[in-house]
């Protein structure tokens, strides 16, 4: 027995079972949700020595297995990410029980989680790029289900994500020459450019972001939010692995300035685009750009303790996305289109759903008393010390989602609107309960961040060499 067997191959096996059970959505949902949360619990409670005792039975798990001369490794320190990945999958699997998502969502989401965990555990770790490409290809049927027209966003998603593969693999080859190269070697600059290009494509840095608003407008919000949470999170952890392993990369002059500059551009442009947006779905895509910007900004603020904020931001973000996209999915299922003119006056007929959208948006925007606020507050307070102009630009960018939320609220509250709902316009009790629970959870995380968030800083134990300075 080994940890890769438990957290990679076993979920893949369950994913295959879910493929066979795809025509029985209730059963596949129960199995998928329970298994995802079970894997999260096992990862969470696994002892550091990876030895499990059940009564008189003692099982000691190996942390790696060999495969075709290469190895897959999940050490004790990696288990924090493993549990986070399965919590995210479990949450999305659970929500899908009340939504009309593709029959492939459950098996693919579980398989993708296993592959992304494998991506972070494969040695040599650059092979992760190939596993991430396979994940991208698995997402295509979810983004563009049968019977629906393929939108340009899906094609661009495929193109940009595939284009990231060569720069990352080429970097791997260049690295062998770099380890011994002096710091001013042109080889270092070339390799660094390739690394940044590869990650910029993966993480939809501006100007490689064009697919994001298109898929978030046209594809199912539940699927989109899952993809746009689990992929960037894993890829950013992968980016940190680069920073951790390659001293030459983090020793580039102005390394932190570059990270802060790139993230500021993302937050500013994403925020400005949000202020003029008139579609709830597209706005989600732009908010993802801003959120990725905040994570990169946290990395750029590492000298002030940014990495701890990076790790603590992940769960509040997941909860915010969860509530926001759950409510968006219900609206999309009713109205088909998420543009403002189509849903004005929504609050009068769907008060819980519209409150869910607003609460999700406000939490992601970092409004006080909601989940993301405690961590974003730390980022906002610290960004001024390296560069005051950066702080101003980030303030403008951060306001984008707030402006959009006020705009949404005005449309939701419009009187005398002509809502066209095919069915009787009423909210189901279960939907009301889920949304209310989501809002309560966001407030709980906002008021008592010290209870849950510090645990996720253990995510950084994997990065032994990337210094957490303060």
């Amino acid at each position: 027995m080994s940890t890769p067997l438990v957290f990679i191959f076993l979920p893949l096996l369950i994913a295959i079972i879910l493929v066979l059970l795809r025509r029985k959505p209730k059963l596949s949902n129960i199995i998928g949700t329970i298994s995802a949360f079970l894997f999260a619990l096992i990862a969470h409670f696994m002892p550091e020595d990876l030895a499990i005792s059940i009564g008189s039975l003692n099982i000691e798990l190996a942390q790696s297995i060999n495969l075709l001369g290469r190895s897959l490794e999940i050490a004790s320190a990696n288990l924090v990410f493993v549990s986070l990945a399965f919590i995210i999958t479990g949450l999305w699997m659970l929500g899908s029980a009340w939504l009309d998502v593709s029959i492939w969502f459950r098996p693919i989401s579980l398989a993708v989680t296993a592959l992304l965990i494998a991506a972070l555990g494969v040695n040599p770790f650059l092979y992760a790029a190939l596993l991430i490409e396979l994940v991208v290809l698995l997402f295509i049927p979810l983004l563009s289900p049968k019977g629906e027209e393929t939108n340009t966003g899906v094609m661009r998603f495929l193109i940009f994500q595939t284009m990231a593969l060569p720069p990352i693999l080429l970097t791997g080859w260049m690295l062998s020459g770099i380890e011994t190269a002096p710091s001013n070697s042109p080889l270092i600059l070339r390799a660094a450019i390739l690394v940044f290009l590869g990650f910029a494509l993966w993480l939809a840095f501006i100007p490689f972001h064009t697919w994001l608003p298109i898929i978030s407008e046209n594809s199912h919000p539940w699927v989109v939010s899952f993809i746009l949470l689990i992929m960037p999170t894993t890829i950013m952890i992968f980016l940190l692995t680069f920073f951790d392993r390659y001293a030459w990369l983090r020793n580039i002059p102005q390394f932190y300035d570059i990270l802060r500059f790139l993230s500021t551009i993302m937050i500013l442009v994403g925020g400005l685009l949000l202020t003029i947006e008139k579609n709830l779905g597209r706005a989600f895509g732009y908010a993802v750009i801003v959120e990725t910007g905040f994570s990169i900004l946290a990395m750029g603020l590492n000298p002030q303790g940014g990495l701890t904020w990076f790790s603590m931001l992940l769960l509040p973000r997941a909860l915010g996305y969860w509530l926001w996209s759950f409510s968006l999915s219900l609206i999309k299922q009713k109205f088909k289109d998420l543009s403002f003119e189509n849903i004005s006056g929504l609050f009068h007929t769907f008060p819980f759903v519209s409150s869910g959208v607003i609460a999700g948006q406000l939490s992601i925007a970092g409004l006080p008393l909601l989940a993301s606020f405690p961590v974003k507050r730390l980022i906002w307070f610290n960004i001024g010390s390296p560069n005051l102009l950066n702080a101003l630009l980030i303030f403008i960018g951060s306001s984008g989602l707030l402006v959009f939320t006020i705009n949404s609220l005005m449309h939701f509250l419009k009187q005398g609107s002509d809502l066209t709902v095919e069915e009787k316009p009423e909210e189901l009790l279960i939907h009301k309960m889920i949304i209310a629970a989501g809002i309560i959870l966001l407030i709980f995380f906002g008021i008592f961040p010290q209870i849950i968030l510090p645990h996720w800083t253990k995510l950084l134990l994997v990065f032994e060499r990337f210094p957490i300075i303060p």
Partner: protein
């Protein structure tokens, strides 16, 4: 003898250019298979035959998968566009080809090891024309051909730099998965999702 090695490179330039200009699925997929043959010949110049032949086998499987998919697809019409569009695409591909040849020496100078010129030319042409194709169309088949060509260009370059059976296997897996994704995208409009 050295000049003979340029034949597959020229074949790549021709197949890519025609694929870029004319969008007729039968021609495009036959040329894609020919392109993989040229990539195999070029790869075998530096890599062991056992490794290079993977490219040919995968290329044939990928082309055949897409060909069968297009045959299965009902009412798959070839593109009909005005002559000016063909001229525009031709000029664009000519520009990119000239650019690829022009940067050949500069690119070689950036690499720490010497790569034979035919391989470098074939690789740069595939990457550049593949990217051009990706920028010019949204049609699933053409996008797929663009991505596959772009990846072949990179693989051709990479096999000259690093030889790993595991890596070749994974890259072959990615190519196959791309072909299956392409097949799905081409056929999915005709099927209905059962929720």
């Amino acid at each position: 003898m050295e000049n003979l090695a340029f034949i597959p490179s020229v074949l790549i330039l021709l197949t890519m250019s025609v694929n870029l200009i004319i969008h007729r699925w039968r021609i495009n997929l036959i040329l894609l298979a020919l392109q993989y043959l040229a990539v195999f010949i070029l790869a075998s110049l530096t890599a062991p035959l056992s490794l290079a032949i993977i490219k040919l086998i995968i290329g044939i499987v990928v082309s055949a998968t897409l060909f069968i998919t297009c045959l299965e697809k009902k009412a798959f019409e070839d593109e009909k566009v005005p002559l000016i569009k063909y001229i525009y695409r031709g000029l664009a591909s000519l520009f990119v080809l000239t650019f690829s040849i022009a940067i050949l020496n500069g690119f070689q100078a950036m690499l720490p090891i010497q790569i034979p010129e035919p391989i470098l030319l074939g690789s740069i042409a595939l990457i550049a024309l593949g990217l051009l194709q990706l920028g010019m169309t949204n049609a699933p088949l053409q996008v797929l051909i663009g991505i596959l060509s772009f990846l072949s260009g990179f693989e051709l370059l990479y096999i000259s730099l690093e030889r790993s059976v595991m890596l070749e296997g994974l890259l072959a897996g990615v190519n196959l998965a791309l072909a299956l994704t392409g097949a799905y995208l081409l056929l999915k409009d005709e099927a209905e999702e059962v929720a």
